[in-house]
Each structure stands twice: as C-alpha cells, then as structure tokens.
C-alpha cells in the first residue's frame, strides 16, 4: 500500500463516493476519478502483467499514452471491453474491471517465469527459435505463444449495444481543449465561424485540469464558449484519424461512463469535414531508460502531478524524481506544496538553472546533480532506488515508494502526420515537430513544440555502472522491448528504423509507441552512430487510440449491413413458404417446398409442372433499361453483337453484349416497341454494370448519338408464365392483344391491358416451353400474381423458383452469364456464333474476336456433358481431364459449369468448358473426384427439344 488520497484538493467530488470492483475486490473512489486514480488512492500499485515477460506493472501515465495499466471492463452479458487504459476509464458506481494477461491471479502469475528466462527471449526470439519443424508452427508454437503473450481476451458474445454515426461540417475544427485549444476557440467564437472543439476527456481543459491556478480561467472560458453561438463542444470524443481534404474521424463515447447500460447508442462516429483544422493535442512526457524503470511505482513526473492536482491522489508517501528536464522539478515543487514528501531530486544534467536549485533548497528537497538512477528495488512496488554519480562514484540507496521520471516532452504529431504534414527534427527538444502542412491545418501549443515547461537534455539510456547486457531498461513498456533488444537489432544488421521497429516490435503495441518511439530512435541513433533524422521515423497511422469495431461499423450490421432488394411479389413468396437465396442484392425465391419435400423433390415437381402444365415465376429482378431516341437502334447495333437496325417494332431479339476485349459480359432478350424505343433486359446481377457501360460509350465515345438510357428495373413487376397451358390461362385476362400463335409468335412483344392494367407482354421463353413474360407497373405485381394463381388452379399452376428455372434452362442449353461464362469466354466459345452479326462493320468487342489468342485452336468451349451413369450428378466446378491415368498433377482440360438432375429427362445433365470441346463431340472425358473417376461423354448443350417444337405452338 503506497498511494493515498490527499486530505484536500483535486476536481473529484468528495461528496459523491463511488463503489467499484477490480479483480473481484470492492473499492471506493469519488465521482470524477478515473479507475487509475481511484485504485492509486486505495494504495493499489499492481495493475497488470507485461506482454512478454509477465513482469508486474503499475501505472506509468495519467492519460491515453498509458502502456501498462490495461484492464478489461465488464458491463454485463456481451458487454465486455478488453485493453482499456485504466487512466482513461471514468469511475462510476458498479464499475467492474479486471486485470489482464495473468494466471491464476495478478499477484501470483505463473507466466512470470518468462521474466526469469528473459535472457533467452531476445528480439526476434520467436522467429529464430520456433522454426522447425514447420508444421509445428500453426498447431503448437503459435497457439502456445499467443496464450502466453497477450493482452486482454477477445469478447466471445455478440455485442448487444447499438452505435450511431453522423456527418458534421464546420469552418474550424479544433482538436484538443487544453489551454491552446481553448484560446483558439475563444478567439474564433463570435467571428461567425462554425467551430467544433473536441476533446477526449470527460471535461475540457487538458493540462489546465492539473493546474489549480488555471481553474478560474478555465471556468470563465468554458462559460463563454458554452454561451457562444456556432461553437460545438464535444467531450469524451477522440479524433482518431485525419484523412484527405480535412476529413476527420472521431468517436464520441456516450454511455460507458454511466452506471446503467442505456437504451441509446453507446458510441457515435463523427465524420467531420472542416474548412481549417487546428491541432492542439499537447505533448506526452517521455520516460527515461534505466534498469528497473518498469517497476510499479515508477511513473511519469507529469502523471504524479496530474494525480495529485486533478484527482487529489498522492502516488506514494515518499517520492523521488529522476529528471533530465526542468518540468520534473516544477512538478515536484507542486507535489511538495500539496503536502507530499519528496525523497530527492536526481538530475543527470551537470547543472540546472539557479532558480530551480534555490526553490529546491527553499522547500528542503535534497538534490543530486550529474547523477542517475542505476537500479530500483522492489518487485510489486518501489522500495528504494540506487543512484550513482555519472562519473561512477558516490553510489548510494535512497528509500522511496515512487520514482518519477522527467525525460522531456514529445509533441503529439499523430494527426498532423496522418494528414501527411511533414516533420522537422529539433535537437533542443530531442523531438520532431510539425513543419510543412499538407492540408489547411495548423498545430498550436505543445504539439507544435511551443511550451513553457522549461528546458532539458536528451539521453538515450541513463549512464550506469551495471553490465548493459544484463539490465532490463525498458523502452516500449507495452511490448516489453528493452534498450538491449534495439542494440541487438542494430548488431544483427538492421539499419532502417522501420526494420528495427518490426524486428523488435518497438512501438507496435496498441499505444503505437506514444511513450517509446523517440527513446527507441535515440538508442538506435547512438548504436548506428547516426543523427536521429538520418535513420528515419516510422509512420503514424490511424487510429490515434484504439477504437471499437462497433463505432466504425455503426448501423451497418445484421439486416442493415447491406440493403436487401425485394420484389412486389416477395411477400407472397414468403407467405407461401418459399426458400430464398440472394442474387446480387435481390432476395429471390429459390423453390417452394410443400410439406415433406426437400429441395430436390420440390424442384422436380416444379419442373414437371412447367413441362406438363403451367408454371409461374417472379422475374421482376431482371435488369431493365429503356433505350429511347432517334439513334436508339444505331446505338444498340454498336453495343450488341447482333444486328438491331432491321428489327421491326413488336419483335424481340436475344442480345449478346461483349466487352471490348471480346469476352461475354451480359445477355438478355430485348424488344423494339417503336422505331425510337427499346425495352432492354439484362441479367439480374449485371443491370447496373450494363447501364454504366452503355452510358460510358454513349457519353464519351459516341456523344453525337441522340439516345437516352433509363433504368426501369424497379418500374416493372415481371411474371413469367411458362408451360403448355400458359396461353389458355392468359387469354381471358388480356385486352387488346391477340394471343394466337399467328398474331403473337415466339420472340415478339405486344402492349395492351391485363386485368385492366397496362402491360408490355413478351412472348419469350427461358424454359423451352410456350411462355410469356408479363410486365406490369410494379405496384400491380402481387395482385396480378394472385389472380393468375387463382385462375390457374384448373391448369395446375405451380410457382417455381430460381433452382427449377436453372434446371429448365440447362435442359435447353441456355447459358447463364457469370455461371457458364467467366470473363474469358467469347461468343464462339459459348456456341453463340449465330448471335454475332457477321456483316456488321463494328460493335463493341468485334475487333477482339480476331485477336490471335481468340482465333487460336484449343480454346475452352461450352459443351454438354452426359455422365455414363445417368444417376451421377457432377459437381459444379469439378475439373475435367482427358486421361485419368496420367500422373498427378494432371493436366486439366476444363471444368463443369452447370450440373443438375433433369427430372424431364430422368437423368443428370451438365454443361462444361472443355478445351477444344466443339471438336470432340461424342468423346469421353473424365472427372476425377476423391472417391473415384467419373466418365462422361461430350455432347451438344441442348438436351431437350432441340428442334424447338414446344416453343412454336
């Protein structure tokens, strides 16, 4: 027990005690505490175990740079957050926190054996040691290492909280509400500018919160800003990333500080576009590198001041200071004045300003200049420190229960660097500061190196008498990287700081090296005998501090992850037991099982109904494009492979669309409604792509053509009525259209009324049966469907889904673009020569059909495949070989693209892409599968009614 609550002082509300738990034990703190300040006030020194060596660790800092005191917070089922910094966790009644990376308990941790074996765990240890045998890595080494080395556990349940997101626009965004940020906000308020001021803490003030002399100013300033028009102040909000064109991502924490889980969102993602950005993020104090600098009770000097002044907590009963910077002296003076005993000031500099020495003398503090700490005794907390003059003399022990480090300051240039602003090295600060801006952005205050903390010297490692190879002087506390590791990396030949960083993992933990980067650079600089700017600086990347996946995902999860498009008839399908599948973003009925039916039984029944009676199918998802204008036919003639100019109004045509490289990209049946008007259909998944491609050619290649393209996919519900009884069912419902075969033959279109509703009635078939596709305005889709279902009862009307549709079209050898083609299939490969207008001078992709590779022999071509065993249904995607006896790896000559049980034919059918397929009709190919080789014969793709007799009735 070491720290304690000071009798007075701080901004905590001593009238509001708060009860909380840490590792199962109950403690008390005050409203306004953080978990760290409350635990320190209760005398707790041990907060966690380190990542690699499982060394006991306490609190290093008081802010977001804290690398050691990581905790897990439990807020009920599913509400578990690991790896939060205890210094950032606001205390509330019932807060339930636990430490991490220890077993069975924080005090007795078996993993601490790693610390005793530390000499065997140098940089690159895992890569060097667990090399052999290779197969052991995934099964044994990695799981074991991950179990030992780690942070908090990942949550195992779904997160029940909700998250929200918003956009915001402002003229001026100020990041950081410390003195610099507040001054800037005050200056901008009242100028008419829209100002957003954000700060990650629960109240604005930043460094001023730890300086009681500034509290009256802070109160006045906040009053003025709260009253100012057009100034928005966001606290508990972290600007985590700075993106192009002054776009800043920030997360506001809305409920974690409240005792009860709220119904409202837990966090809010702010996407802020700012005219100008002012960065006022402040600076972070640097630790010093010496043996035992990670012992619980060794912490940043500024943190001790913050705990005392802001939270009213003394971090120990007797504090020593190890300084190389004036700021530590001022901190210690403030602590002494707050009533905390100061054991000694040790400063590695040979001399300091007379004022400092005078004030120390006046306060009765003993001072050791030109001395350094060379050792710390105590395992779970500091008992004493050993110091020594830098010339090696005057070794002595000083009893104390906390050691403060004042290593100088590192400006927080994280967001500045995200924005790709450049940095310059300042030798006097031993730090990088902002140089040239890349966005409309300025850094102000301490993050620009502009501070009144006094001056200091820069040390990489403090002088020591001890053997450098045997001491544990930590640089990166969170990843357990020591000065020795960095020196080893340099000895092993690493020169770039980027490589040294990755080899040692310095700066790669969740804190991204907030306290370790510059010490690591200094040590590498000494080892390489090069100036710091000459060895580079690692890249800063978002997020500035870890953020939840929930905040980034926002509403985009579950049903809202992606929009589901449904047709007007979808509700009927759902009510009638359809099994659905997603096709692009559309939800489509796959089959309609009746009680006791599996998919195969349902699909077989649906197929029999279409071939023997009449089936009804929701084809509304087909892409539709209205092509209008005097040059519409000319335009389509240039886009599609087929000729369009001679197509008479009222007639349909199968259109095949290539990309300029000659490969099939889409197809569909389209109709000419009038000389200047076409109704195009595309594949369900290709609708947007085809419209984009057509717009591209129309706008940029042929802007002289007078044509307009409009997506009409969602304007029409489309019902396919397919089967020998289709006409009989339809005839009584249609007005103004003669359905007789002579007046309305296959591949024509008519406009009229159905049940009094305007329709574009297509006589087309994707099944090989007599068929109609009825287009009506979308809102009438379901009503028409229900009428057809009612009237069709006598004809055995049967709704069928996409699965039966696939089987029926495969029986006829109709391809599905994207299933039977894969972006490498030409019209010739697909057996669609007939759809290519040989006399046309040009169309998209035409020139490519004469490319050497496309006219070469041996291309893969679409063919039918009939297995020797008619009951054997091939697997789609299965590879095809010519000779199954050849040694492995075999030469693959193609693969199966479509394969089904054909109820109509009473056997299996398949389509495949096979090298030289058109030339090897009747030959046997082989499909090697795990449980044997399947023999099949290459055939025509048209398995059913090759003459088309069933269509033309």
């Amino acid at each position: 027990m070491s720290g304690y609550r000071l009798p007075a002082g701080g901004r905590v509300d001593r009238s509001k005690p708060v009860t909380f738990r840490f590792d199962g034990k109950t403690y008390q703190g005050f409203a306004g505490d953080t978990l760290a300040s409350a635990l320190l006030a209760n005398g707790v020194t041990l907060f966690g175990r380190s990542f690699k060596y499982h060394r006991p660790r306490g609190v290093l800092a008081a802010g977001n740079e804290e690398p050691n005191a990581l905790v897990s917070i439990h807020r009920g089922p599913g509400r578990f957050t690991p790896n939060l910094r205890a210094t950032n966790v606001e205390l509330h009644d019932g807060l339930n926190a636990s430490s991490q990376n220890r077993w069975p308990s924080l005090k007795t941790d078996f993993g601490a054996i790693n610390d005793r074996l530390g000499m065997f765990f140098p940089a690159g240890f895992y890569n060097k040691t667990f090399m052999w045998p290779r197969s052991f890595w995934e099964r044994l080494y990695e799981p074991a290492i991950r179990k030992m080395a780690g942070l908090g556990d990942a949550p195992t349940e779904n997160d029940p909280d909700t998250y929200t997101a918003t956009y915001a626009h402002c003229d001026l965004l100020i990041v950081g509400a410390g003195p610099a940020g507040l001054d800037a906000a005050l200056e901008a308020s009242g100028t008419g500018k829209r100002v957003i001021l954000i700060d990650e803490q629960d109240e604005a003030g930043g460094g001023a919160l730890a300086d009681p002399a500034l509290w009256p100013w802070l109160e006045r300033s906040m009053k003025a800003l709260n009253a100012a028009a057009k100034v928005t102040i966001l606290t508990r909000t972290t600007a985590f990333g700075y993106y192009h064109d002054n776009f800043i991502g920030a997360v506001e924490r809305l409920t974690d500080h409240l005792p009860e889980n709220s119904d409202g969102p837990r966090e809010k993602l702010w996407r802020i576009r700012a005219g100008e950005v002012l960065l006022a993020q402040g600076a972070i104090e640097r630790p010093l590198v010496f043996d035992g600098n990670d012992t619980p009770g060794v912490m940043l000097s500024s943190a001790a001041k913050t705990f005392a002044n802001r939270y009213g907590v003394a971090v120990g009963k007797s504090l020593a200071l190890m300084a190389v910077h004036d700021s530590g002296w001022h901190d210690v003076f403030a602590l002494k004045k707050a009533g905390i005993a100061i054991a000694a000031i040790i400063d590695a500099r040979t001399d300091v300003d007379g004022d400092l020495k005078a004030e120390a003398a006046a306060l009765g503090i003993s001072v050791h200049l030109d001395h350094s700490v060379i050792g710390v005794s105590g395992r779970h907390q500091v008992n004493s420190i050993e110091i020594c003059a830098n010339n090696g003399n005057a070794r002595r022990t000083i009893p104390c229960d906390a050691l403060l480090m004042a290593g100088g300051w590192t400006p927080s240039v994280h967001l500045w660097s995200h924005s790709k602003g450049s940095l310059k090295w300042r030798d006097d600060l031993g730090a990088y500061v902002p140089d040239q801006a890349n966005e409309n952005c300025r850094s102000i205050g301490a993050c620009a190196g502009d501070w009144d903390f006094g001056k200091g010297a820069v040390f990489d490692v403090l002088p020591t008498l001890r053997d450098q190879a045997r001491i544990k002087a930590f640089v990166d506390f969170q990843n357990d990287v020591t000065a020795k590791d960095i020196n080893l990396a340099v000895r092993e030949g690493f020169r770039s700081i980027e490589h040294i960083k990755r080899y040692t993992t310095n700066g790669m933990a969740t804190d991204q090296g907030k306290t370790s980067n510059l010490n690591g650079l200094q040590i590498a600089s000494t080892a390489l005998a090069k100036a710091v700017p000459d060895i580079g600086l690692t890249t800063f990347r978002p997020p500035y501090t870890p953020q939840t996946f929930g905040a980034l995902a926002g509403h985009a999860k579950g049903a809202l992850f992606q929009a589901t498009r449904t047709t007007n008839i979808d509700g009927w399908a759902e009510e009638n037991g359809a099994v659905f599948e997603l096709v692009a973003q559309w939800r489509r009925a796959r089959y309609f099982p009746q009680p006791g039916e599996d998919m195969h039984a349902a699909v077989n029944r649906e197929c029999r109904a279409v071939r023997g009676g009449v089936g009804i199918f929701d084809a509304s998802t087909l892409g539709k494009i209205e092509v209008v204008g005097p040059d519409a036919a000319e335009f389509l003639n240039r886009m599609y492979t087929n000729p369009w100019k001679a197509l008479e109004p009222g007639r349909c045509r199968y259109g095949l669309l290539l990309k300029e490289d000659g490969f099939i990209t889409d197809d569909g049946v389209s109709a000419r409604l009038a000389p200047d008007r076409f109704h195009l259909t595309t594949t369900t998944g290709g609708a947007a792509r085809v419209l984009n491609m057509m717009e591209d050619y129309l706008q940029t290649e042929w802007p002289d053509l007078n044509v307009w393209l409009t997506s009409t996919t969602e304007q029409y519900a489309v019902i396919a009525l397919q089967g020998p009884n289709a006409r009989k069912l339809l005839e009584p419902l249609v007005q103004g259209i003669d359905l007789s075969p002579e007046a309305f033959p296959h591949m024509t279109v008519r406009e009229g009324l159905i049940c009094g509703v305007p329709t574009r009635l297509f006589r087309v078939s994707f099944t090989g049966e007599l068929g109609f596709e009825i287009n009506v305005p979308t809102a009438y889709g379901r009503a028409l469907w229900e009428r057809l279902m009612a009237d069709g009862a006598d004809y055995g009307i049967t709704p069928y889904g996409t699965e039966a549709m696939h089987v029926l079209r495969a029986e006829k050898g109709f391809i599905i673009v994207g299933q039977d083609t894969d972006g490498t299939v030409t019209p010739y490969d697909a057996g669609l020569d007939w759809a290519v207008g040989k006399k046309k001078p040009d169309f998209v992709g035409r020139r490519s059909l004469a490319r050497p590779d496309i006219v070469a022999a041996g291309r893969k071509q679409l063919v039918g495949l009939l297995t020797e065993d008619p009951n054997m249904v091939l697997e789609e995607g299965a590879q095809i070989v010519a000779d199954p006896k050849q040694p492995v790896p075999m030469t693959m000559i193609g693969h199966v693209t479509s394969s089904y049980w054909s109820e109509t034919l009473g056997r299996s059918i398949a389509i495949g892409l096979v090298a030289n397929g058109h030339a090897i009709m009747g030959e046997t190919i082989y499909v090697p599968m795990p449980d044997g080789v399947i023999r099949a014969t290459v055939t025509s793709m048209v398995f059913y009614d090759p003459e088309g007799a069933r269509l033309h009735v």
Binding site: H244, D245, P841
Partner: protein
C-alpha cells in the same frame, strides 16, 4: 475521403459519390479493323502508371451520372483539375 469537383454539377462532392473509370484520353478508334493486332493490344491492355500527374476518368455515379476527366497526382492523391469529357487534355 477526397473531395472531387464535378465539372458538370460545378460542385465539390465527397469521393463516395464517384466511381473511378480508368485512364483518360484513350479514344476508341473509329475503325478498329484498321488496327494491327499489336496496335489493338496496346489500345486494349496498355495503361500508364505514372508517379505523379495522371489523367484519369471519373463518373459522378451518385450525382449527375456524367463521365469526366481529371488530373490527379498519384503521389499526393490531390486533384489538380477536373474537366468535361471531350475537352482537350489538360
């Protein structure tokens, strides 16, 4: 998220409204048959990959729907200018 100026809307709008559409100023030949296999291959498949100024096409997909040309620096990701399709190379 980058802001892109649509020369048709004359508005600076966020990147998510736009879709990239490849290198600019590659005109489809009026008579592709006049191209040799090598020339056609270059037209189809060869594209610039400069470090620095890049002429490229964008479409204001979720806005006016127009294709336009832009000059973007591939190092800084900054747009130098955007201009309407058909206007001379900038």
């Amino acid at each position: 998220m980058i802001l892109i100026h649509c020369p048709y809307c004359d508005e600076q709008r966020p990147e998510i409204e736009f879709a990239y559409a490849g290198q600019a100023h590659i005109a489809r030949p009026a008579n592709p048959d006049s191209y040799s296999d090598e020339e056609w291959e270059r037209f189809l498949f060869f594209r610039a990959n400069p470090r620095g100024r890049h002429h490229e096409r964008w479409r204001h997909t979720h806005g006016c729907g127009r294709f336009f040309n832009a000059v973007r620096d591939t190092v800084t990701d900054k747009f130098e200018t955007t201009y309407k399709a058909g206007e001379p190379r900038k």
